[in-house]
Each structure stands twice: as C-alpha cells, then as structure tokens.
C-alpha cells in the first residue's frame, strides 16, 4: 500500500518519504513473528529484502531512505541473541522512533534555528520548490516579532509547480509573498538578498543533489552575487559522488510536460512521432562552488566539509 502511494507521488519530498518508510518498517516489525529454528536478526533482514526491492521498483529509493535502511539493518544485526523475540521487537521499534526523532524532527528544528540566525530583518528571500527544512527556517523567523517583515519570493518550476505549495503555507503564516516561474529569476534576483534551497541529498564530493532547477538558481544567484544557503539534515549525506545530472537520475512521467492551451495540446501525439521525445528529469546536481553555505543540524558548514561529517559519523558508529 505504501508502495502504491509512493509511486503515485502522493508522498513526496525526501523527509516525508523517509518518515513514511520508517513507519512502515515499524508496522512490519510489529507484525513479524520469528519462525522456529531461525535467528531473529538474520531472518528479519532477509524478510526486509523483498520489500525493499518492491519499493525500489515502485520508485527508486532516495538517498535518505537508503541511509535509513542501512541504519536499520545494522541495528537488527547488532541485536544480542539473548533477547526474547518480544523484547527484541520492542527494542527495534524504540530505535526507529529515536532515529526518526533525532535525525529528522529535531534536526529540522535545529536547522530552522540556524537559518533564523542568518536571516536578517528586511531581507528578501528566494525559496525554490517545496522544501521542509527551508520552509521551517522561514516560518520560525516569521514567528518572532522581528522577522515577520522579510518578504519572500517563491519560485516554481514546471511541471511540478511545488512552489505553489510553499506559497500557500507561507501565506497562511502571514508572510508577504511573491510568486514567479523559474524563467523569471533573472528579473527577480536583483532584489533578492538571500536564496534558501532544500536538498535531497548531499554527495561526498560536496555536490548538492536536489530538485531539478536548483542548480540553475544557484548559478544565476552566483552571477548576481546573492548568497545561496542550502538546508539539509545530516542523515541525507551519502557516500556517492556525481559530477553531472545525467549519470543517475530519475525520470518522471513525460506526459506532465504537455500543457493545454486553448483546449489544444501541441504535444498531444508525441508518442506516435518517433523523432519527438519528452524529458522530465526529477533531480539535478549542483556543483559545490555555486553553494555558499550548508545549514545542517550539526551547524553551518561549507559544502566541502561533507566528507568530514561522513567520516565522523562512521567513526561514531
């Protein structure tokens, strides 16, 4: 059921997906019962595999989900054999809850707080797409009496138009907003003082993997000398390296690009035309020199410190 929701795009955004995944795993563990003559730890890991590959087929796993699964597998295999089944299951569910709380919820709050320090009064901020962490920062500073004067520009790209969601949320909080499409950023940027972006994952060479269009915004902001701040929780850091957006990316439904204009779709018959293809990428990779600061729950770090954080995390575990 989760797979269906997930592949349809009802659950969207890397944080939401990870939270939903962990909830599903908790459910799975609750319903699980060890068959006789089997060890809990080994068997549970084996049981998880087909589920994971099913989810992978619905939609490729995100980096955050990959990290969560790795963590879970490690926890399961570290379970001491002396525990009874009930206790083991309890313990696992507790660790999942703790992971959820620490890495996702509290991290988001820490990021909001740090972002709040960086946003001054009368700053005009550009937000792209719909990011939980970027928005959290924005909302937090709107709650304080000082911050509510900073106007925000919400930018949105076709075909997903996630900027609209951000727009609604911010307006509900009473923040003064402007809405533009991504092709208008050259017009808006001279008046913007900071750009807040969210990330899907941070790669080990410092590149930021995020919603398609983010790299463009970072590029144009650099040309106008506007600082680019990326908000990302540490559990999204991953070991992969990627230099461009083609090597491994996700393709979305190409029919989303078709637009109805005066009741007629220009690209209506594109499947029959063998010279015509539609490309709808989901992610893109921003090179580290276009990003000025990464705000994480561990503090504010430059992009190039990502491998350091990864190393420290591995040493801890």
């Amino acid at each position: 059921r989760f797979g269906l929701q997930y592949s349809q795009g009802i659950i969207n955004g890397s944080n939401a997906r990870c939270i939903a995944l962990l909830e599903v795993f908790k459910q799975l563990i609750r319903d699980y019962s060890t068959p006789p003559n089997e060890e809990l730890s080994r068997d549970l890991v084996a049981k998880l595999k087909p589920h994971i590959s099913f989810l992978n087929q619905c939609r490729p796993l995100s980096a955050s989900m990959g990290n969560a699964i790795k963590f879970l597998k490690k926890e399961i295999s570290c379970l001491p054999d002396t525990l009874r089944e009930e206790e083991a299951k309890e313990k696992l569910q507790d660790t999942i809850d703790k992971y959820l709380r620490e890495k996702i919820v509290l991290a988001a709050e820490a990021i909001s707080r740090s972002a709040f320090e960086k946003i001054n009064d009368n700053d005009v901020i550009l937000v792209y797409g719909c990011t939980c962490s970027g928005e959290g920062g924005r909302q937090l500073c709107s709650d304080s009496p000082l911050g509510s004067t900073s106007p925000t520009v919400s930018c949105s790209g076709r075909p997903r138009r996630e900027g609209r969601e951000t727009l609604h949320r911010l307006v509900r909080k009473g923040i003064h907003c402007t809405y533009v499409m991504i092709n208008a950023i050259s017009y808006v940027l001279p008046e913007v003082s900071k750009v807040l972006l969210g990330a899907h994952a941070l790669l080990a060479n410092g590149s930021v993997m995020s919603r398609v269009g983010t790299s463009q915004i970072a590029l144009v902001s650099k040309a106008y000398n506007v600082p680019v701040l990326v908000c990302c929780e540490t559990y999204k850091f991953c070991e992969r390296v990627q230099t461009d957006s083609f090597v491994s990316n996700e393709l979305d439904d190409p029919d989303d690009l078709i637009v109805l204009r005066k009741g007629q779709a220009q690209l209506g018959g594109w499947a029959e035309n063998k010279s015509l293809r539609l490309l709808n990428l989901v992610y893109d990779v921003t090179p580290p020199d276009l990003v000025d600061l990464v705000i994480t729950d561990l503090g504010m770090i430059p992009c190039t410190s990502v491998p350091v954080v990864l190393r420290v995390k591995n040493v801890d575990q």
Binding site: T178, A184, Y187, L219
Partner: protein
C-alpha cells in the same frame, strides 16, 4: 539617399567629420520631385531584404553545425527553425528544446522540428543546467539586439546563457539585421513588458491572490559577454562589432526616436 548627403559620407562617421560638418546644410522645405520615387524604391529594397533574411541566415547553417551534435534552443523562433531545417538536410544531429514557461512556445518548435525528422527532445526550463553538460552548441533567436551587442530575448534566455558560459558552450544567436536597435541599455529594468500573471497562477487559486504578488515578465536582458556569435543575413559577427553595424544601418539623427 537623402538629397544633400551621399551614402559614403554617412558611413564614414569619423570624429573629424562630425566636428566640422557644422549642422544640416540643406533646407527641408524646398520641393524635391524625385523624393517620392526614391522613397518607394528604398522601401522596395527593404522589403526584398526582409523577405530574404531567413533564407540568408539558413544558408550559413552548414558551416556551423556538424554531425552528431547536440544543439539546444529555447522557445520558438522561425529563424532558428529555418536554420536547423537547412542543416538537417545534410547533417544528422539532435536538438533539445527548452519549453518556455508559461507560454510553452517550445512545444510548437519541437513539433515542427520533429516533422523534418530531426531528433528532438522537449524538457522543462528547470532542467537547463542539468542537461547543459551534454550540449555542444546553443542556438537561439532573439527579439531585439541592442547597440552594445546585448540581447532582449524571451524570458529564461539569461539563465540559458549563464549555463552555457559555465560549461563553456558556444552561444550562437541567429537574428536578421532588422532586429538591431540603436539604443543602448540605460537601466536593466527599463524595457520590461509584463503580461497577465494568469499564466503563472490561475485565477482559480483565488483566495490567496489578494495577499501575494505574481510576476510574469516576458523578456530577459542578456549581456554581451555571454554571447559568442551573431549570425545575421550579412554574415557572422562578434558582439563587439555590433555597434559598427548599427552605424551602417541607422542615420545618426535617428538614434533617439
């Protein structure tokens, strides 16, 4: 062609001549019978030139596109369409078209190109930087060329130009000479034209419309440093040469209309 000034002296606008010319010497109130015929002849010449510009530009296509290239373009331009169609007769290449939200003219361009069996791919504007690493050349059309070599082109072109510069991809602008304007850009905001923001955020999203601003600019300013080459009906030029061409095309009195 005006009575009183010969063509050669118009073009040699050296500083010396400007200083010593001493103002207009002819009197515009004297009747000049052949004027009407002259003007009609000049207009006819202009018409012929205008009709032939697209073909002239397209004839240069083969020199610039070679086989197995990936070419990127944005929006819909008839000049670029003719250019690419002419090249497709002898060479095989691929084209990536960035649709130009919110009007999505790129869709029409893609459909027309694919009818000529050119392999075309349509993608969203947001993916311009993402695919730029695979692109060999960027060819675009424009609305206007300004006197310093800058462009006023459809919204989104500035992003495209910056991405091309970042990846060191040549940016070629195909535009006929009549698009050249004698004005220099005074301030970047002075030329903007906006259209109804309904395209961006439809009126059906009514409740929040009162609390937000929506912008929908039609044009973008692209500075001359980002452009590699202008291809026009008189040949290829660098952006730094445009100011000279302007002096050939416009009489100095006409710079400020």
């Amino acid at each position: 062609r005006l009575h009183g000034r010969s063509e050669e002296s118009d073009q040699q606008e050296s500083l010396h001549k400007l200083l010593t010319s001493g103002g207009l010497s002819e009197d515009f109130s004297t009747p000049y019978p052949p004027l009407r015929a002259n003007v009609i002849e000049a207009i006819n010449e202009l018409l012929i030139e205008l009709e032939g510009t697209t073909d002239n530009i397209a004839m240069q296509a083969l020199e610039h596109i070679h086989s197995n290239e990936v070419i990127m373009t944005v929006g819909y331009s008839r000049t670029v369409e003719a250019f690419l169609k002419e090249a497709a007769r002898k060479r095989k290449f691929q084209v990536i078209v960035a649709e130009c939200a919110p009007f999505c003219q790129g869709h029409e361009m893609a459909v027309r190109l694919s009818k000529e069996n050119i392999e075309t791919t349509v993608m969203s504007d947001a993916a311009i930087f993402a695919v730029m690493s695979r692109v060999n050349k960027v060819i675009i059309g424009t609305k206007t060329i300004l006197a310093n070599g800058a462009l006023i082109a459809v919204s989104g072109t500035h992003t495209l130009a910056l991405a091309a510069k970042h990846h060191s991809t040549p940016l070629i602008v195909c535009a006929p000479m009549f698009k050249l304007s004698p004005q220099f850009p005074n301030e970047e905001d002075s030329f903007h034209k906006f259209v109804s923001p309904q395209e961006v955020l439809p009126f059906t999203e009514g409740e929040i419309l009162a609390k937000i601003n929506v912008h929908c600019p039609v044009f973008d300013y692209v500075p001359p440093e980002l452009i590699t080459l202008f291809i026009s009906n008189i040949g290829g030029n660098a952006p730094s040469y445009i100011y000279r061409l302007m002096s050939e095309l416009y009489h100095p009195d006409d710079y400020e209309l």
